[in-house]
Amino acid sequence: MIDQQTLERHGLKPDEYDRIVGFLGREPNITELGIFSVMWSEHCSYKSSRVHLKTLPTDGPQVLQGPGENAGAIAIGEGLAAVFKIESHNHPSFIEPYQGAATGVGGIIRDIFTMGARPIALLNSLRFGSLDEPAMRRLLEGVVAGIAGYGNSIGIPTVGGEIVFEPSYSGNPLVNVFCLGIAKATDIIKGVASGVGNGVYYVGAKTGRDGIHGATMASAEFDEKSAEKRPAVQVGDPFMEKLLLEACLEVMKTDALVGLQDMGAAGLTCSTTEMGSRGGAGVEIDVSLVPQRESGMTPYEIMLSESQERMLLVAKQGREAEIERVFEKWDLHAVRIGQVTSDGLLRVKDKGAVVAEIPNRALTDEAPVYRRPMETPKYLAEAQALDLASLAPASPQLTARDTLVALLGSPTIASKQWAYRQYDHMVQTNTISLPGMGSGVLRIKGTERALAMSVDGNGRYCYLDPRRGASLAVAEAARNVACAGARPLGATNCLNFGNPERPAIMWQFAKAVEGIGEACRALGVPITGGNVSLYNETDGRAIYPTPVIGVVGILEHADRVLERRFKVSGDVIILFGEGRGELGGSEYLKLAHGLVRGVPPALDLGRERALQDLLVGLGADGLVRSAHDCSDGGLAVTVAECAFGTGGMGAEISIEGVEVARDPRTNEAAALFGESASRVVVSVQSDRVTEVLQRASALRVPARVIGETGGNRLRMAVAGKVVVDVSVDEAERAWSTAIETRFAKKVA
């Protein structure tokens, strides 16, 4: 008998239990209850998010595989597909930063090679609390080391990402990892089980008791008691995964395979049911045949274990030996643990005796779906109210020059070299734009082409307006890709939010999804997959709503790739787009006034699209020498970043003033540090300026010459008055040493 307490431990509500009894026509046993609990957990069932996710645009001529498989895929020309996805590993990383981040990397890599693609790039998007907290430094150190430890070992370059520091993530850091692989479009493999009598095989690491209930844990808020769940930490084994990766890719070439799926969250349970349900078939396995690391494991434990580096595959009858031979070569042993059946049931046996029998559909398609109540958050009206006119001036000591240097030295804006130097970003010899230069860009060997990719998100914007903030994230990721000269083709998303059972959180979620959908439609980047991470709360305090968007684009000619750095002294600096002095939610407002307020910058998606088209065209025709978009910290920070890494080449710019406040210095700051969207700074050889301006005007993209590269200082004038004059050296030092300095001061 299942009592109330047992139900609660499994995170199941009484009405959900009644549904279970309805499906089975009887009471479930404990193994069955465990299986239902993980499959109906938020993490696996998307029960709160599904109705909203359905509204996202997922179609396009380039889409080869939309959401629903292990990863999405888009056509990138010459018969090739880019297979990519992003996933979160937030909770495990908080509990054990190194292993949590490492196994997060391992998990997303498996999702990609499961599809038959060779993974060629990783990105990561990280959020922590303030770096002044020792606990956050330890967390950052552990997470970065874990990502490095896994990715470096397996030989997939980490070519980009973002790291943001914000008190809202202090009790709940975010670790989102993106992976991209390449396959022949015709070779994409799916996670299906079909063909009655075909063998179901298990391969990879042995099953232990690790991570049992990982999936339900990711679906519950943190509290004091979560410490008790700690032994549930999974340890990553990148060497095993490297063997699996090579062996699986080799097995796929044999054509003896029906389907393949990795065992991620909810392990064997999720992989057997999902494969069966995709193939419209049943799967029968005997847990006593599953390779086990520990003795005395129960069927319950075996079915729910989340041991890493394991795969499930279905072999064509009569071709099993070919598959086994490949795995043997790599010292892996594929073990037959069951077969495909026609009855649509998940049947679990233990030494022949049936211990669980559940209709697949009850676990997948028929899992609960909730249209949870929503309501506008109470904080919103006040947070959005920003009266710049009566904003008290910032401390008089803080000149525009010092503000710029301070912004450059704030950890969110500062160089992330401290982190990416720990990542092998060059293995596979495809990386043609290194981390720190903008998007990650990789050439595709055997073609002239290259892929550009970027992950972006701004939780503060989304807190102030989830809909617009989410649109801005899509726009920024696509713009970063376009700044490399690549045409954005597709997107993936990782939605990090609080507890969806709270109407205000659900509202944030729904609005953000609307914003993503709208921007993806307008910019022509369909969503091909993603991941939802809810319950990101500690003691009832939720993180900022944080959708993170990954965008992938294609460059026809790899050697035309653009990056952020100025190239030649005397080049003309052109600004595309218009600065309107928007300070809502900006880094400046936070740094100089300690405020997280206002509404995020306005976004005209038509203009954004035109800007991106312009950039792709200019890049293809070699008309600009560098490109960098304006984001955190606004135009002044962008121009400074263009000067960094050039060996000290400076710039002189002059921009118009804006009238947003009464205080003249706030107006100056708004012009320099306002974060108006859809802006890009390019440098252009002087005899190409006219052509560039004409092209911009043809696409109705505002464009104006704002200055020139050269010298060794950054000089910036607003409305004719020079308000920033600082040596590139000094500015660059603040930017490049900010994170290291915070570690140097550290006490462990």
Binding site: A148, N152, S153, F239, K242, W330, R421, V427, Q428, T429
Partner: protein, 253 residues
Amino acid sequence: MKFAVVVFPGSNCDQDAYHAATAVLGQTADLVWHKDTSLKGADVVVLPGGFAHGDYLRTGAMARFSPIMREVKVFADRGGPVIGICNGFQVLLEAGLLPGAMLRNRGLKYRCEHVHVRVEHTDTPFTCAARQGQVLRIPIGHGEGNYYAPSDVLERIEKNRQVILRYTTPDGRLDDGANPNGSVNAIAGLCSEGRNVVGMMPHPERACEPLLGSTDGLVILQSVVQALAPIGCEGPFARGGGSQGPALQTIGS
């Protein structure tokens, strides 16, 4: 000529070395599985970068037992050119084909970045196309590249002019800040007494094409092509061959 690129379980720069040998240098190459017992008539052997056996226990420690390593040793003993890059260098050290050992980087962190190395001697099959004193800009990517040898061994390898690459500043000066991992005497690359076996931590195969931002690694791989060409390098890498110019000063102890 033909390259053999050995693939250990966990190697991850094998394809990169293969690509450099074939697509960039225009030579032929074979990927040779570590359980194989033949080098298939190769003229030069590459032990590539990566994490053989996960680098669990110690970098390169388990790979030396692979069946192919017997062949590599025989090949090396006969004077055949062998290069170990990064993890391959670590394997050569563990296998005793080169002297010394690797420690964790000082600072303990993995480091991936471009560094500068100075070519110290050109009488090896992997440096003969370079100029002595030439500074190359090549990427590294390792967590254990902190080269160590006991002082007597160090003295011997310096005297024998076995140190062929040192970390320097871009203009070729020795400087502690230019040493990314704490290697003794700033050693980045080493050859055997017979000069035909070479190990280096930087990855020349990552610096072979303009798209990748540097082509300075090409000279390492071109050297071996020249060395094995009918005419050979100028001043062939004959065993114990006399040096051109004085041995560069050693630093530290």
